[in-house]
């Protein structure tokens, strides 16, 4: 309980800061939208194939915007050595992990809630009734991304060239999430239901649970000064 209270406190602080600085959310949002246009120019999607390619394209957009968010994640703590102030305090490091993870999750979800419908509009898809399921799957995938991404953002925090290093170590480890989410989304878009993609959903949930636990347990070492 203490853990959650501390995490809530930190998250409140981060959200207030984000509302005032508007650094991450706006850039992430515009980048995500921009990517949709770039994809359109790059692939020149024929209308009948859009539905097949939608999961991959959407996830590519989310991966990039999410990485953008992760690179900014600890920025508020780097200014003025606030990370030091947090580490000095009796705060449980697991709470710091939960707070930062939730922050990136919230930012990414806000972007996704706009970008997914935008994708449907821009590429003339009419399967609007599937959006709730698609958002639910995206939520699970995004959770997996944020969980592992937050751990690795903290691991690379003190490395040189960390903005470049982060995707380098993150993306290979992310492959289960990428594959599972794309397969689930594809199944929903094709058949309107998960059907045989159910094991993928289980894998995704398993990934989320495993690394959420690992993150809370291991973050004390990760963030150590």
């Amino acid at each position: 309980m203490q853990l959650l209270r501390e995490a809530y406190l930190l998250l409140w602080k981060d959200l207030v800061l984000e509302l005032r600085r508007r650094e991450s959310l706006l850039t992430m949002f515009f980048f995500g939208t921009l990517l949709l246009f770039v994809f359109h120019f790059a692939f020149d999607l024929p209308p009948d194939r859009v539905a097949d390619m939608a999961p991959g394209l959407l996830w590519l957009a989310f991966l990039f915007t999410g990485t953008l968010g992760l690179a900014q994640l600890f920025q508020a703590e780097r200014d003025n050595q606030c990370l030091e102030a947090l580490l000095l305090s009796p705060l449980d490091r697991g709470a710091l992990f939960l707070a930062k993870m939730s922050l990136n999750l919230i930012l990414m979800l806000l972007v996704e809630i706009v970008v997914i419908p935008l994708f449907w509009i821009l590429f003339n898809l009419d399967s609007w009734n599937l959006l709730p399921q698609i958002l639910a799957i995206t939520l699970l995938g995004t959770l997996g991304f944020c969980v592992l991404g937050t751990i690795l953002a903290a691991v690379t925090l003190r490395a040189r060239a960390r903005e470049l290093l982060l995707p380098l170590v993150l993306f290979p480890l992310m492959i289960p999430v990428i594959l599972a989410t794309i397969q689930c989304l594809g199944a929903v878009l094709r058949a309107g239901e998960l059907g045989e993609a159910l094991p993928w959903l289980r894998l995704l949930i398993g990934f989320d649970v495993i690394f959420l636990t690992v993150g809370v347990l291991i973050f004390d070492w990760v963030i150590e000064v």
């Binding site: 690795l152 490395a159 060239a161 290093l165 289960p176 599972a180 398993g206 070492w221």
Partner: protein, 236 residues
């Protein structure tokens, strides 16, 4: 202390001699003694390298995991040295596995590269542990580098089963698994001479692996010792 150094040195020497004998025997068995495969012909002999090298790579990554856990727990430089050394060897053997797979694939499938589950998986492992080595080299503070790398070593290893599962499912959705099927164990319906060749080569790789590992560990130890000597002389 000098005596124990001498002893480990002699131990490594014996291990090296054993390894190279085993490698020579393995070469003979693999290239001469074992019969060509009924389906694939002589190209199948690459398998005598392929399987042992991927197994040693997996062993490496397991050792990285063990070393990382021990380091986070006890903070002994020795454990970090183990993780670092094993990662380096693991990357080498993974890279070799990919090269062998590719060379084997060319006559078998007609292409150098295909998105076969095993090849893809090996490539991902290579990416993960190259990232591990890069992370180490990009952090200046030695303790930080060791801690960060240890965390990555643990996470990477925990992720391997998940990656394995996902890549395997992903491929089996699109095409039936190629030659190596998981439901058919490798030792069923196989010529005993081929099995023996595989066994000898596996032994040779293990011996060679531990020989290289002990050399690499000693290198790390000497480097640590140099650092501590420099420190004890210190500027002030």
């Amino acid at each position: 202390m000098v005596k124990s150094v001498e002893k480990t040195k002699r131990g490594t020497g014996i291990l090296g001699a054993l390894a190279f004998t085993a490698v020579a025997v393995g070469l003979y068995w693999g290239l001469v003694q074992a019969p060509p495969d009924a389906l694939q012909g002589d190209v199948q002999r690459i398998m005598y390298l392929h399987l042992p090298s991927i197994l040693t790579a997996y062993l490496s990554f397991f050792l990285v995991f063990i070393g990382s856990c021990l380091y986070l727990w006890k903070r002994e430089k020795r454990d970090d040295n183990l993780a670092h050394s094993a990662a380096e060897l693991g990357v080498l053997f993974t890279a070799l596995t990919i090269v062998e797979g590719s060379i084997w694939g060319r006559p078998t499938w007609g292409v150098w590269w295909t998105w076969d589950a095993r090849l893809t998986l090996t490539a991902i492992l290579l990416l993960i542990y190259t990232g591990y080595l890069m992370l180490r080299s990009l952090i200046d503070d030695e303790n930080r580098a060791a801690v960060s790398a240890a965390v990555l070593g643990i996470i990477g290893f925990l992720d391997i089963p998940l990656i394995h599962m996902s890549v395997y499912w992903w491929r089996t959705l699109h095409q039936p698994p190629s030659i190596l099927r998981p439901d058919k164990l490798p030792w069923e319906n196989v010529d005993p001479a081929m099995l023996a060749a595989l066994g000898v080569n596996l032994l040779a790789f293990m011996l060679l692996y531990f020989y290289l590992l002990s050399l690499r560990l000693r290198l790390g130890e000497v480097r640590n010792e140099i650092k501590s000597l420099r420190l004890s002389r210190g500027a002030y």
